[in-house]
């Protein structure tokens, strides 16, 4: 295979051909079937919702500066609900798969596109359509049920826009399902010659496992939301005991989706981390097969632990103990990954660039998120911890410390590939450190608050909790500043950033063997893979430097 730089083709204006300049105008974007352009559409959309969800997070923190709260309780309840719904369904679930996965998965396996390009575009439209319903629900006065929609509050008592939000979530679920379907078929049928399963990058494995989980769990969410809507509209007794339903049934159904959804949110980010650690230390991932299989194991076990959300919901004591056991079982594959990533660094050539810093940030925060998972899996201890700030801190360490760090790390690693421009390295490192500090200051005090008994979803609280809340709000401010810096320099770099070579990191992987940004068809000649994953001996120096060796 020839080096990417020597294959570069130019259009009539003498510019290098890329997916970005192949077609101009809105039509070329909104009717595109190119997975890379669809990924960019997703990027803009999820970034928008991340910003909105972040603003709602700040409103939460502002309210909690004072024990009596600064907003009315009804307002606060709508704020935390909106924050949860937007961040979970419109940012965390789609972020890594729909942006990075969409862009990279076909390139990483040497394909020209996903298996079903039109369905890929449809899934973006479904996302936007679902998001529109949710935005209307928020504008029309909001929803006040929490993102968990527990019945019978949501089905009978709440007089907020539950139905509109439910329709939004129902629709966006199908967007995930279609993406998952597309990924599975693509990985099965479109791998380049020689690219066997165990030569796939771990990011592909992680997205494959995620897609399976999405396909199997999201329909249950759709069913649950539909039943909720039926009860709310037609008063058929399903969940409301006053008309013959069972409220705990809703919790079983909801968590049957929403616990696996935790892995939908974190598994792809784990895939990113494998790429970051390997490429930024120029080492193959230690114990590749075990890391790949642990993704599948997490996907499978993830379906068996939903009951750990119901330890105090009057479910039988023995059921509680069984779910506790299974929850410990799902912790093992995550632990294995952390150890294997750490071991990957051994005898590597470790770069201190921003993607690696994010990789480390992920390991550190995910470690704490994972270890505190043991606290809440231990059933007798969870009785005290559940529905307190301890749980809030725990899942933010996993979701923000894990998924968000993974997403940002991946965005930095592949930014040159996606945009053809380098981001400013010094700014990126500084922003990462600011985010890391801000994050810990925000959420670490919440572990203590939780153990002291501070319940979640409280608009007001006893005065003895105020000091810790002030620390947390201060941290959130720092975190927001860090995020703002990142957004600014990434936008700046689109025009002003240094032009990227095909392989600025000297990284391994097919995506680094084509130009930055890639042409519409990804590769001018179909790659034939004769090497294992993370083999840095096949990296061609001219792709790194960008100077064609004539």
């Amino acid at each position: 295979m020839k080096s990417a730089i020597s294959q570069q083709r130019f259009n009539r204006d003498g510019e290098p051909q890329t997916y970005l300049n192949n077609g101009h105008g809105l039509r070329s974007w909104f009717l595109t079937k190119d997975h890379k352009r669809i990924a960019m559409l997703y990027l803009v959309s999820v970034a928008f919702f991340f910003a909105v969800g972040g603003i709602y997070a700040l409103l939460i923190r502002i309210n909690l500066l004072a024990p009596n709260g600064l907003f009315e309780s009804d307002t606060y309840n709508r704020i935390f609900t909106t924050h949860g719904i937007i961040m979970v369904f419109f940012f965390l679930v789609p972020a890594v798969p729909a942006v990075l996965g969409n862009f990279l998965l076909p390139i990483m396996i040497g394909a020209k596109d996903l298996a079903f390009p039109k369905i890929n575009l449809l899934s973006w439209y479904l996302y936007i359509f679902g998001a529109a319903f949710t935005v209307i629900a928020v504008i029309a006065g909001g929803v006040d049920t929490g993102w968990t929609f527990y019945t019978p509050y949501s089905s009978t008592y709440s007089n907020s826009n539950v139905l509109l939000a439910g329709v939004g979530i129902f629709i966006v679920g199908f967007s995930s399902i279609l993406t998952g379907l597309n990924f599975i078929v693509t990985v099965h049928t479109m791998r380049a010659p020689g690219l066997t399963w165990f030569r796939l990058p771990l990011f592909v494995w992680a997205n494959y496992a995620t897609s399976l989980v999405i396909m199997l769990s999201t329909p249950v969410l759709a069913i649950t939301v539909s039943l909720l809507a039926i009860e709310r509209v037609a008063h058929v007794g399903i969940f409301d005991p006053a008309i013959g339903g069972d409220p705990v049934l809703f919790q079983h159904m909801f968590w049957f989706y929403s616990h696996p959804a935790v892995y939908i949110m974190v598994l792809p980010a784990m895939g990113v981390i494998s790429e970051l650690i390997a490429n930024m230390s120029k080492k193959n991932v230690f114990g590749y097969k075990l890391v790949a299989m642990s993704s599948l194991a997490i996907g499978v076990f993830g379906f068996l632990v939903w009951g750990h959300h119901l330890f105090v919901s009057t479910q039988s004591v023995y059921l509680g103990i069984i779910f506790s056991f299974l929850s410990f079982a799902v912790a093992i594959p995550s632990a294995i990954k952390v150890f294997n990533w750490t071991a990957t660094l051994f005898k590597g050539s470790i770069s201190y660039d921003a993607p690696m810093l994010y990789g480390l940030g992920f390991i550190g925060l995910f470690l704490i998120g994972g270890m505190t998972g043991l606290f809440v899996a231990a059933v007798g201890l969870d009785v005290h911890l559940t529905d307190t700030y301890f749980v809030i801190a725990h899942f933010h360490y996993v979701m923000v410390g894990g998924s968000l760090m993974g997403f940002l790390g991946g965005m930095h690693l592949w930014w040159p590939k996606m945009t053809g421009r380098m981001y400013p390295e010094a700014w990126a490192r500084a922003a990462m450190v600011i985010q890391f500090v801000g994050f810990n200051l925000t959420f670490f005090p919440q572990f203590i608050l939780g153990y002291l008994g501070m319940p979640r979803r409280y608009a007001t609280y006893p005065p003895e909790f105020q000091v810790l809340h002030i620390f947390s709000t201060a941290g959130a401010t720092i975190l927001a500043i860090g995020m703002a810096i990142t957004i600014c320099y990434l936008i700046w770099s689109l025009k002003k950033g240094q032009r990227a070579t095909p392989n600025p990191w000297g990284a391994a992987g097919l995506e680094w063997m084509t130009t930055s940004p890639p042409p519409t068809e990804n590769f001018y000649e179909t790659p034939v893979v004769t090497w294992e994953a993370y083999d840095f001996t096949v990296v061609r120096p001219e792709d790194v430097t960008g100077m064609a060796a004539e």
């Binding site: 006040d144 480390l360 009785v383 559940t386 319940p455």
Partner: protein, 371 residues
Amino acid sequence: MMIHKFLLGMSMLLPEQASSYAADVDNLYLFLVGLTVFFTVLITAAIVYFFVKFRRRANDPIPAHIEGSVLLESIWSIIPFIISLFIFAWGAKIYLEQYTIPNDATDIYVVGKQWMWKFQHPEGQREINEVHIPIGKKVRFVMASEDVIHSFYVPAFRMKEDVVPGPNRYSTVWCEPTMTGTFHIFCAEYCGTSHSAMIGTVTVMSEKDYQVWLSGGAQQGTMAERGAALFSQYGCVTCHKSDATGQCPKLEGIYGTEVLLEGGQKAVADDSYIRESVLSPMAKIVLGYKPLMPSFQGQVSEEQLQQLVAYIKSIGPAETPAAAPKAGAAAPAAKAPPIMMSGSPEPAPVAPTTTATTPSPAASSQPVQKR
């Protein structure tokens, strides 16, 4: 001593240990904190060491390929697994302790509603957003919700249980207070607008103070006595006759015993069973009886229902007399203020405090036998 000092330092980070199992929960917590610190330090140290030792230098050669190590990977799969098993067992042991309700516990009846907690003592005292209990006595909380799911949480006791609405269950949880004082009650399950105002206090008193307190606010009879009044007011007595000649099962001596049902199943006649029998009588039909009883859903308030349960409990078999004798002891002074109330601006809106004065219209227009 060292450990004691350490724990004192930690006391800023732990709520008071005010129940018999609070220390057990804290010990597991502190063990896990230690474990987390250990692994965080271990991994961080390894990363920092690798970062310094193997930092990228100009003209680094491509690092050698290291495949992995079956031995190492087995070690760090198996060790966490063993540690997990240990934590699992420890957590399960505490859970069984928290949810195995001792036979000698005294009942306190709790109703959660948007947005207040209402309490009834067997002796007849009623409280809102505040409950008094004696130190060193096991207390069982028998809880029902009038509307949505709430969760009864006392951090100082490390005690929490959801209060789930529905005709077929009471949520129950127990504790044994070990420290006098006043502690927070929180509603831990989001329940709407004033969820964060659905808070209160539990006051643990010495046995002597508690007796004084009990005799202070004299009531309109014990719970069992009020339940007995309701039993005739709602016409239950016409059918559930004490000489077993009625069309419905005799209830004397039934509490806590096993009941044979149509279809060959069995059920224990506990609080939840009695509640279900009143609210959805068709759910479990006693063997040999016809499904005649109408539902009282919407006619009896949660508090009245608890009084009926207390009554049936009081006429239960002699070996489980929990409420009856104590109730008798506290009963005589049946005069003064009807409710002990504090904290909430709202009076108890649902249940009339004197059950005998206002017979429910529904009850009088719907004689029990007519179905």
